[in-house]
């Protein structure tokens, strides 16, 4: 509750679930951990299209976008999301993702611009640290 903290610029993070799977427990756990880590988390809920995610990132002027996906459609959906984000000129947004993502997809996702990939069993503190680190480097 210290007053010093509140004068620092706030880290804003968008947590979104693209695609059709409705299992949002993972996304909610991450959102909650980031909240407890001092971030302002814009939570969009499930079934977001690439356009909706990119538009929310623009309007909310977030520093970081985190995508949760369990359906296995990440290699289909993520490129479209990245494209929409780039189309809107949001080139300084840090991207990370989490969920059921096979190891062999790491390279493809890294090439797309995802600098953090968090799989089941990740310590949430690692995600909080990743976000703060990303913003620090950025600013």
């Amino acid at each position: 509750m210290s007053a010093e903290k509140s004068t620092q610029p706030k880290v804003r993070v968008l947590i979104a679930k693209p695609g059709l799977d409705g299992h949002d427990r993972g996304a909610k756990i991450v959102a909650r951990a980031l909240r407890d880590g001092g971030c302002e988390v814009i939570y969009t809920g499930i079934r977001q299209t690439p356009e909706m995610i990119a538009e929310a990132a623009l309007q909310e002027d977030v520093d970081v976008v985190g995508l949760s996906i369990l359906s296995g459609a990440h290699l289909e959906l993520f490129p479209r999301i990245v494209e929409q984000i780039n189309e809107r000129g949001l080139d300084d947004v840090t991207l990370f993702c989490g969920g059921i993502i096979p190891e062999e997809d790491t390279e493809a996702l890294t090439r797309m611009g995802f600098t953090g990939i968090f799989r089941p069993g990740t310590n949430t503190q690692d995600i909080v640290d990743f976000v703060h680190q990303a913003v620090l480097v950025d600013k």
Binding site: K10, G38, E55
Partner: protein
Amino acid sequence: MKDITERFFEGDRRALARVLSRIESGNPTGREYMRELYPRSGNAHTIGITGGAGSGKSTLTGALAAEYRKRNFKVGIVAVDPSSPFSQGAILGDRIRMQSLILDPGVFVRSMASRGTLGGLAPTIDDVIAAMDAFGFEYILVETVGAGQDEVEIAGSALTTILVNNPGTGDDIQAMKAGIIEVADILVVNKSDLPGADMLASQLKALLSLAPPAEYEVPLLSTIATRGEGMIELADAVDNHRAYLDSSGMLQIRRKDDARHQILSIAQRMLLEHVRTGSSESKIEALVDEVAKRALDPHTAAAKMVADSVQ
């Protein structure tokens, strides 16, 4: 820097988003933007939407915005959710209820955390509203955090205040208490398909009838925001209230009240900042220790801190 405000005035939404962030962080750049934007604001009609947690504020905000879109007006939405008192973090989840508006280029939704402000709003809310106003939105809907009985700040920031009630939240004595109900320009019973809605509506109606006769009578409307029911009537009621503000001269009074309030609260923030930076961390900690030990009372400690900072 010139660049971004130029883009702002050309209608670039990214520039608007950036400007809002700078304003929200309260830094000198944000204040510079405000100097440029403020003279171009004052054209929008601002609507405050308040009510208890779970009363349906977000859904109603989205539904009312959709009604304004049907009428071809551009709508800015500011949705405030609480910050954590422990981590200063926040979960801003009001967009979830506004999904259908997200891809509409005539709508811009911005979530804000309350950042320690009491009263249901955020410290820079008036600046954010003014920026959206200057950007050219014709209606600006401001959704407060879930309000209890005393979060009346919204009435200072908005021209029309809508209080959203829902069934099952207490008897008519609750509604008779002073506070939030006094600042409502429009009363809504939302979720009016649920049991108890008719009872609540008649209690509120009875309550309104206790008020002395006035030039403007607060209307009571029933809505089911999830289905968009009652939004035509609600938008009409807002226009009716605006017409009253215009014709009665209240608009000028409200604008002056708002200006006074803004100046004073910004001055208050500046002074607090001045006092805080005027004393060293160790001096403040020493005072904190003394007061915590009961060796000094908080009034004397505060007076010392203020005296230190003006030297």
